[in-house]
């Protein structure tokens, strides 16, 4: 650990921000096209973020500010840990549990700040978001657990590297097809895309946790959202779709995966939160458990291509 790590880390943050924000802009266009609209400019997301950063803001006390900083800080730290095409700013810290729980710091910070605003809608939104998290995380974690057991490694980078060199057949999503489906469904939940976006329902609870944010706080939230999206998509990409041997492959796969979720989301209605829980605990959980049992007891999918 030396200064270069931190420089790399910073550069990763900048690069990720630019990449993901652009991609978000493009995906806004994709959504618009699905709706037969022209859509926003590809750089619209940047404009939105910078505009928000430019505006004045209101604060509801120190925890409102502190939570925002803690959220962004935690999320940025997590981003630094994500291995991108074999590159890690801090090698060896890409343990999947570390990533998934460090992600929670950001979420907790955001939740804290939102609830600290004193607006009940924010609390309702946070409550829904946490419920949503409980719903999608269990099936996903079971599949990831199976993977760790099967490959004897909990390092995201290593798990990604193991899938490379065999083309599509090497991907865990293909080796563990049920697990792959679970992962994509869970990704929709993680990203808060439809049909799992009831926690930011704008008309019902005035965008939930975001209700009191304006100005730079809102800008922070947007940046945070970009980073969070990157972490979540990267996690699924690395674990189930082989990451990328090169940065270009990685970006391409990433874009395809992310756009895919956007497209699914574009044609979906919205689940109520309890429906989301029920859904996740019915279909994906069953698939995840079946997948886990198959892999643990038969080794099918792990050894079959070896």
């Amino acid at each position: 650990m030396n200064a270069m790590n931190f420089v790399y880390g910073f550069l990763v943050l900048v690069a990720v921000f630019i990449f993901q924000t652009t991609l978000t802009g493009i995906n806004r266009k994709v959504t618009a096209r699905l709706q037969k609209r022209y859509g926003a400019r590809w750089y619209q997301q940047f404009l939105d973020i910078f505009k928000a950063m430019r505006k004045d803001s209101t604060s509801h006390g120190w925890v409102f500010d502190f939570g925002v900083i803690m959220a962004l800080g935690g999320i940025m730290a997590t981003v630094i840990f994500i291995p991108v095409a074999g590159f890690e700013a801090f090698p060896g810290l890409d343990n999947v549990f570390v990533i998934s729980y460090l992600l929670a710091v950001g979420m907790l910070g955001m939740a804290m700040s939102a609830a600290g605003s004193g607006n009940p809608w924010a609390s309702i939104g946070v409550a829904r978001a946490l419920t949503n998290m409980l719903a999608y995380d269990i099936p996903l974690m079971i599949v990831i657990f199976t993977m760790i057991f099967a490959f004897d490694s909990a390092s995201v980078g290593e798990l990604a590297a193991m899938q490379q060199g065999m083309g599509v057949l090497g991907w865990n999503a293909v080796r563990m097809p049920l697990g792959g489906i679970v992962a994509v469904i869970a990704l929709l939940g993680m990203l808060g895309k439809k049909p799992f976006d009831s926690f930011i329902a704008p008309a019902e609870i005035a965008s939930g946790p975001m209700v009191e944010y304006g100005g730079k706080h809102l800008g922070f939230m947007f940046i945070l959202h970009e980073f969070m999206t990157f972490i979540e998509v990267s996690l699924i990409l690395n674990l189930f779709f082989g990451g990328g041997a090169t940065i270009w492959e990685y970006m391409l796969k990433y874009a395809v995966l992310y756009t895919f979720t956007t497209i699914i989301s574009g044609v979906m209605p919205r689940f109520k939160i309890d429906q989301a829980v029920k859904y996740f605990y019915r279909v994906p959980l069953a698939m995840a458990v079946v997948q886990g049992l198959v892999v643990i007891f038969t080794g099918l999918g792990v050894k079959i291509w070896f």
């Binding site: 730290a77 460090l102 929670a104 605003s117 609390s123 657990f145 029920k278």
Partner: protein, 609 residues
């Protein structure tokens, strides 16, 4: 100093504190602080004499690393909580009795952890049970104390049975020898094992014995709940530890049916642990009272500890042992924070307060950090230990248990956030406008526990080194530790670096935040309400039925307490029947039964000879 003398001194000091309290309540409270700190210092200094064996009359002691470790955990909880005692004395109905029992139960735990034989262990175990049962009744509920005592008794009786059974086979009570004679008879061994660990399960609040925790933790005096959750529950972990080490469970059950390499009885207990994680989590989510909520979280965390210890391997075991410390620190701190709030507001109901952060910021931070640790989020201690448990589970491929562990982990975000949001964040109630932060003396233990939690998360190896010693003494391969790194088969964790990177991210965010223009401060009531005018903070606070949609999914689930109520009603019904049948007022009834007994004797003598 020998343990017996040490314990005798503690008992004498306890008696002294009784009389001091009788003379002056506040002074008595401070006496408990002094005595418990003295005990902590003594135990800390005892690290060097590990390995010694002592006996005093019929009590036998042996100083082991694991006993030392547990004692430190326990005394940390006791000594830190004791700082609250002086301020609650005036609310106690028996302040002198409280202080006396507080110190007696503390001495009892030390004696139990350093016990060299099972009789000593049992004696001190029961001492703790009754002394704490009499403390709990001084809180909000008498029923709680009753439930606590009865469920503890279930465990104690089973353990006594196991001890005596083992004694009848091996002829000794000495912990390290008593169970070894059982290897020849797996059937007896199974009975002994299950009966012995029962007290651990009931103490840790493992399903189906978890019902006492919410009752007792929730209604014990506010100054005792931290000890209960942070300390006494860990006695169960000690029993679980003995069950797999002193009782060489993996060896004795080596020939039995194995599930993923785990002998079936142990796997079954792990499943119970998993079940308690799930039940603890689900129940914690729907509690309305902060202390009850934390109590259910103790149930869930007890599950992690049990699973970790039962794995008895390189990684998971270390995780379980470390989680015990982390949970003790975090849970004691969280309970203390709630106690501090209750001290100022007089309630622990989450829907009756809000926005305490604006009045008690330090308490808020204490609570925040402890719940972060409890939920297993870096960079706090709880993360490291949960990480170890996860790694151990992944290593063994225990899918269902791991699923429960994940459920508990994610679910804990839900329940720890609820008091955070309802009590500390949100609207400040009109009633609590003039509430102040607690004084330094009460703040001190909370801050110390918080710093310890943080230290455990950043430098976990300090604790893990002790754990490796325990692992060595238990005869298993210790977890591999490098300078700041914990190495497992599936990967490694450098908690310090994680912390630094987290700090780095935080610093960037902070800089980004302060370079932008300062925000306009507005009041809490100035929030978006669809332009509706609301002037009552209580109405603008979301705290009741926080997770209503989620709770609806399982609100019809059966309640374990009903099972106990049914058993209790069944016994009472039997009693009623007996009373009516045998103890009626008239001689005729008795004569009839005498004649019936005569028939039985006649048959016994004549027919079934």
């Amino acid at each position: 100093m020998s343990i017996a003398v040490f314990l005798a001194i503690l008992i004498i000091l306890a008696a002294a504190s009784f009389f001091v309290t009788a003379a002056n309540k506040k002074a008595g409270g401070f006496a408990t602080v002094a005595v418990s700190l003295f005990a902590l210092a003594m135990v800390l200094s005892m690290k060097g004499s590990v390995g010694g064996e002592q006996s005093f009359m019929y009590l036998g002691f042996s100083i082991t690393t694991v006993g030392w470790y547990f004692s430190v955990v326990m005394l940390t909880a006791y000594s830190m909580t004791s700082f609250f005692n002086p301020f609650w004395m005036k609310k106690m109905i028996y302040p002198a009795g409280y202080n006396f029992l507080y110190l007696v139960s503390m001495a009892g735990t030390i004696g139990m952890f350093f016990a060299g034989d099972f009789i000593t262990l049992f004696i001190f175990w029961e001492t703790v049970v009754w002394s704490s049962a009499f403390i709990i009744q001084q809180g909000k509920s008498r029923k709680a104390s009753y439930v606590y005592y009865v469920l503890s008794a279930v465990g104690s009786m089973a353990t006594l049975f196991a001890i005596m059974l083992a004694y009848s086979v091996s002829g000794t009570f000495v912990i390290r020898d008593a169970f070894t004679g059982l290897a020849g008879s797996p059937g007896t061994a199974l009975v002994v094992f299950l009966a012995f660990i029962l007290s651990g399960l009931s103490k840790m609040g493992i399903f189906p014995f978890h019902v006492w925790l919410p009752e007792a933790h929730g209604s014990a005096p506010h100054t005792f709940s931290p000890v209960l959750s942070g300390g006494l529950v860990k006695m169960g972990a000690f029993i679980a530890f003995l069950s797999v080490t002193a009782f060489p469970a993996y060896e004795i059950f080596g020939d039995m049916l194995k599930i993923m390499g785990i002998p079936a009885p142990i796997y079954f207990l792990m499943l119970l642990g998993a079940l308690s994680i799930i039940i603890g989590t689900l129940m914690a989510i729907k509690q309305e009272d902060a202390k009850r909520l934390l109590a259910y979280s103790s149930v869930a965390n007890g599950g992690y500890i049990l699973i970790g210890i039962l794995m008895l391997d390189q990684v998971g075991f270390a995780g379980g042992m470390m989680h015990l410390m982390n949970h003790a620190l975090a849970s004691a701190a969280a309970f203390l924070a709630i106690a501090a709030v209750a001290y100022r507001t007089g309630t622990t109901k989450m829907s009756e307060m809000g926005g305490m952060i604006h009045r008690m910021p330090v308490t808020y931070l204490v609570y925040l950090i402890s719940i972060i640790s409890m939920a297993g989020i870096p960079p706090m201690g709880g993360f490291v230990s949960k990480w170890l448990v996860f790694q151990g589970l992944a290593d063994k491929g225990l899918l269902f248990i791991a699923a429960a562990a994940f459920f508990g982990s994610i679910g804990s975000f839900m329940y720890v956030f609820r008091p955070l949001s309802a009590v500390f964040l949100g609207q400040l109630f009109t009633r609590d406008k003039d509430v102040r932060e607690v004084g330094f003396f009460m703040m001190f233990p909370m801050v110390v526990l918080t710093l310890l939690t943080l230290a455990a998360g950043v430098f976990p190896n300090i604790i893990l080194r002790v754990v490796t010693e325990i692992q060595k003494s238990a005869g298993i391969e210790p977890v591999t530790l490098a300078r700041n790194t914990i190495v497992t088969t599936n990967g490694f964790l450098d908690a310090f670096r994680v912390f630094i990177v987290f700090g780095f991210g935080f610093a960037i965010a902070f800089v980004l935040f302060i370079v932008r223009r300062k925000s306009r401060k507005v009041g809490l009531m100035d929030t978006y309400t669809s332009a509706e005018f609301i002037h009552t903070p209580e109405l603008l606070h979301y705290s009741h039925s926080f997770y209503a949609p989620f709770e609806r999914l399982y609100d019809k689930a059966p309640d374990t307490m009903n099972m106990y109520k049914k058993i209790s009603a069944g016994i009472a019904e039997l009693g009623g029947l007996v009373e009516a049948v045998f103890y009626g007022g008239k001689p005729a009834k008795t004569i009839f039964w005498i004649m019936a007994a005569g028939m039985v004797f006649f048959l016994a003598g004549g027919v079934f000879r």
